[in-house]
Point group: C2
Chain length 340, copies 2
């Protein structure tokens, strides 16, 4: 029996996940939900630009799709914030369907919005389904992976995680989202207006690490997003940034315990940046780990969401985090074998 999946959100990431799932053995895509009038009513294959129909028509009526398709799980990829996705998640839950979501705040919902998290958790338990927010970041690189690496240490003083992305290797919307090509003044205006939000998830990642290690933090500090100004001309296929203009952004967040900085996350994305993901644990033994180049964000999110499908289906009901599932792994073959 294949795993029946409904896609909720066919945007940039949702479309990539959709293409991956359509090629996976053991997966059957049985429905697709999106509000974009350009997509509603069209065959999913057409929306994805596959040049063929796949027999699933995109609908903007989530309840109807879920009632008719009766999926095992919804792959949810719409928005980053809890309050924005709350109704969507609750609709899935009320239809008795598990959810794996790219919603960044949902990766540790209890820190982002404990009230909504409690409602989701209670509803999920009542309906016997599981809800997980995950992805490459938050979800893996700056939380699950440092947590896993910490397992070799019998003493830990502090953990420092960096993600550094050369935005030139990414989609144009990503390059725009980080403000590449703007003046510093334009960048600051777009920050104020909320057009530039920076990376969502640093607070969640710190909370997840602290929970895993049993650290009761005094507080989590998320510094304001900073523009990274080009010192010399840098460019991508789409944008040329002259010296003095913004090449991208940098964000730092800290977990403080006993007045001491014990967790530091540093997210950097600009055109021309060195590409790596690094984790340094000041502990016994010390651990200095680096992934070079950094894991591709979009591809990695497709991987994480796809691979967590059987884990979410198997997990106990409720709103869970990456700490509640068994060790994550790829599902390169028949995805349904993981459920046996």
């Amino acid at each position: 029996m294949p795993v029946k999946v409904v896609l909720y959100g066919i945007g940039a990431i949702g479309a990539k996940i959709a293409k991956c799932l359509l090629n996976k053995k053991g997966i059957e895509v049985v429905g697709a939900i999106d509000i974009d009038p350009n997509k509603v009513g069209k065959d999913l294959g057409e929306v994805l630009g596959l040049g063929k129909k796949v027999g699933v028509v995109v609908s903007n009526d989530a309840g109807k799709v879920l009632s008719e398709a009766k999926p095992d799980i919804v792959v949810h990829a719409t928005l980053s914030f809890m309050d924005k996705v709350f109704d969507q998640i609750m609709t899935c839950i009320k239809h008795g369907v598990n959810v794996v979501s790219t919603c960044e705040e949902l990766s540790h919902p209890f820190v982002s919005n404990p009230k909504l998290a409690k409602q989701i958790d209670e509803a999920a338990k009542k309906h016997g389904v599981t809800v997980l927010g995950t992805g490459i970041n938050p979800g893996f690189l700056m939380d699950t992976l440092p947590i896993a690496l910490s397992a070799v240490c019998h003493e830990i003083k502090s953990i420092k995680v960096k993600r550094s992305i050369n935005a030139a290797t990414r989609r144009l919307p990503f390059q725009k989202k980080i403000g590449a090509g703007l003046t510093v003044e334009e960048f600051k205006k777009k920050m104020q207006s909320g057009e530039i939000t920076g990376h969502v998830g640093l607070e969640q990642s710190i909370a997840l690490i602290a929970d895993a290690l049993g650290w009761r933090l005094d507080k989590i500090e998320v510094e304001p997003v900073q523009p990274v100004v080009a010192e010399e001309e840098v460019k991508s296929d789409y944008i040329t940034v002259p010296p003095g203009k913004v090449a991208g952004l940098k964000q730092v967040a800290r977990g403080i315990m006993g007045g001491r900085e014990v967790i530091t996350l540093e997210f950097t994305a600009y055109i021309g940046a060195e590409e790596y993901d690094s984790i340094d644990i000041d502990g016994v033994p010390p651990v200095h780990e680096k992934i070079t180049p950094c894991v591709h964000g979009d591809e990695g999110t497709v991987g994480m969401i796809t691979n967590m499908i059987p884990k979410v289906i198997k997990a106990p009901p409720g709103l869970i985090t990456m700490r509640d599932i068994t060790i994550p792994s790829a599902t390169p073959e028949h995805i349904d074998v993981y459920l046996r």
Copy 2:
């Protein structure tokens, strides 16, 4: 309530774990078992060279210690092979005690010795206890960590894992165990006599990765241990190796599927070796990860064994592997909080 631990085996690694556990909050060491006549009857503090008594006398009567101390878990660190530890593990199980063990073959017992594994599993389930074999390797660096990293990939062609240890940074017994200072002829004789066994665990690590990924391997090939001959003089604090003599050893194991090498593990340990642990996943996205220097084996094993104590106590009964527990993590603070 602290977690009550009995130590089974106070050898090189067992002693290091013991020292760590005696310093951990939330842990109470309530018994110690060893067969060494130089240790039996002495206070554990004296055996560990702490310069003070800890109120636990080392005994060679496992059954008596377990009956009297009634621990929550046994930390077992005696031997590498299933058949050698079978009776010890069964004694713990029959006393209703969970076990976390450094026994390499126990990390994936179903591949090493399915018959004994089945007996242990059935007995553990009957007595409601959990048994886990783990450590830094096998247990983490060449299996759990590549499995976790695979979670970002939605396609995987192959996985290559290397562990390269500069033996000069390790204990003298380790340097001797890998044949440092021998002639090639002496090395080969000691291989034949079983004095040099190489690293135990490559087969288990490959099987664990394949299981996690749903790969049904045609076979696992473990190549014979190879001596690494010094090209120029290399030395440690204890051993000087002239050119032409053995500096250490190298071992390769392969997982074959569909006639293709899909998993390759390479273990290298010699005096003068570059130190790193690396994982390369040929997949989408590709992952190239490196820990530099390599994680210290003894310290890492102390970390893994200590940190898995609450996970094993919480896990469902039976003989489990690292795949069956939630994401491993350090327990730097009160270890007992992880059980709440």
